[in-house]
Symmetry: C2
Subunit: 253 residues, 2 copies
DNA sequence: TCAAAAGTGTTTCCTATACACCCATGT
DNA sequence: ACATGGGTGTATAGGAAACACTTTTGA
């Protein structure tokens, strides 16, 4: 029932679209150039006004599609991030924001002058200033990411996809400051493989083949989402472009 | 800016009012008897429709005051709980619920035929059935409680108040299933005192006096909220009504 | 003085971290 | 071959759980 008898509040659904950059092994946030006032032309988180009878994930999808050119199929997962109700957050007037974090499939990100990727760090450092209270929202996303990554299986799986390398995990942990780069350029991350095994969540892909022969061939997994094979291709590239020993590839049990 | 040009969604703010029962050492939820349809006469979580320009905590306060007779001063803290947007959650039509968990000062709870206290367990077990999707919301609250209790200092402090006994902590942990009662009726919670010390958050109140002389006199703490002294009185009662050795009282550093 | 409840001393186990070393690749 | 990045073996420290025992109360 849509109610016009009473005054109703404006509710926006704002999304933090996160995606793993497979070249840099960093977590990035997608922002779209605004085509309306206020902040016309600036990059901001995708967000839309919630309409009646619309579910939150639907609104989030609509925001991602219209503001950051992400196709619905490339949205891997959507999680709750919280609510933001500072009355000054929008110059147009009080609008309560329901924030979501959406994991976007890595290969699916459109590079365009309308859509930009920024690293989580850039926002955390304040190097990148976003309009509205979007810096606050991204920071909340970063916090949630730190809490869930490698502690919630479903969350981690949605971020890493069906297959992933140790290298990517290392990159993300380094980004989060959870792994320190030693004085002598040696990574102090020697236990990562052990930790991954310790979770009991994952299996090594093709242990025999991945050494000696070629790092290009990986086992085909039961793809939960058909993005997997494409990611796999990207992975192969990313993996083979190193100097030292190539890192392991993992699948989910 | 109140907007009547577009159709706007209905947003409700629903609150899970939790409070520590100092007699049973259990966490309880306050529910109020509904005075409107639907579910007239049934006990439900307090909730109101969000009005424009109203902040979420204000709406939560309004809900607590009107539906469960809690005075604003007795609301110790309000935390985010999440959003619930199942379209069937309200028979009147789609309403998105923004849920909050509110910690209510123990002494402040009004016992009335309009307001009832139920234990968290009763809801979790399904012994207590609430209207709408309130069982789901309470369960989310229980989960959040389990995550934050004894791991977030501010959260824990808001729940336990300025002063508290080991006994209460034990009660809550037992309720959550985090402490098991041994086969021989002996509590397997021998490390509780150690754990509390280990947090570094708290100090023992009046170690010397609390033995030998009388368990009635406690140090006056710098009361963050003036409820403290009243709680203290209640505590004294609760503490002195046991058989064995009285439990310690703690204050926050 | 006995039962009940709370707290302490101490052991044991497990896991996180660290350090030293070995393996697989590109140039 | 050697520098670079990745992984394993093994030692060590710290914290959680367990168990036996002591302390403080009410009846």
């Amino acid at each position: 029932m849509s109610n016009t008898e009473y005054e109703l509040p404006n509710i926006s659904v704002d999304v933090v679209p996160v995606t793993v950059n497979l070249d840099t092994n960093q977590l990035e946030v997608l922002v779209g150039r605004r085509i309306f006032e206020p902040y016309l032309g600036e990059y901001a988180l995708p967000g839309v006004l919630l309409t009646p009878h619309e579910r939150l994930v639907e609104a989030a999808t609509r925001a991602l599609e219209t503001k950051t050119l992400v196709k619905a199929d490339d949205i891997v997962a959507v999680y709750d991030l919280g609510t933001f109700d500072n009355p000054d957050r929008d110059p147009r007037g009080a609008t309560v924001s329901i924030a979501k974090i959406a994991v976007i499939a890595p290969h699916a990100v459109v590079e365009d002058e309308r859509v930009k990727r920024i690293t989580l760090d850039a926002v955390a450092n304040g190097d990148e200033q976003l309009p509205f209270d979007h810096n606050t929202i991204v920071q909340a996303a970063a916090t949630l990411f730190g809490e869930k990554f490698l502690s919630s299986k479903t969350f981690t799986k949605s971020v890493l996809g069906e297959q992933f390398t140790t290298k990517i995990v290392r990159g993300l942990l380094t980004q989060m400051g959870r792994i320190t780069t030693d004085s002598d350029h040696t990574y102090d991350a020697s236990n990562l493989t052990r930790q991954l095994k310790g979770t009991g969540w994952v299996d090594v892909v093709d242990e025999a083949d991945s050494y000696g022969t070629s790092s290009a061939v990986y086992a085909t997994t039961s793809a939960a989402y058909d993005i997997a094979s494409q990611i796999s291709a990207a992975l192969t590239t990313a993996t083979s472009t190193g100097r030292g020993r190539p890192s392991r590839t993992w699948t989910w049990k």
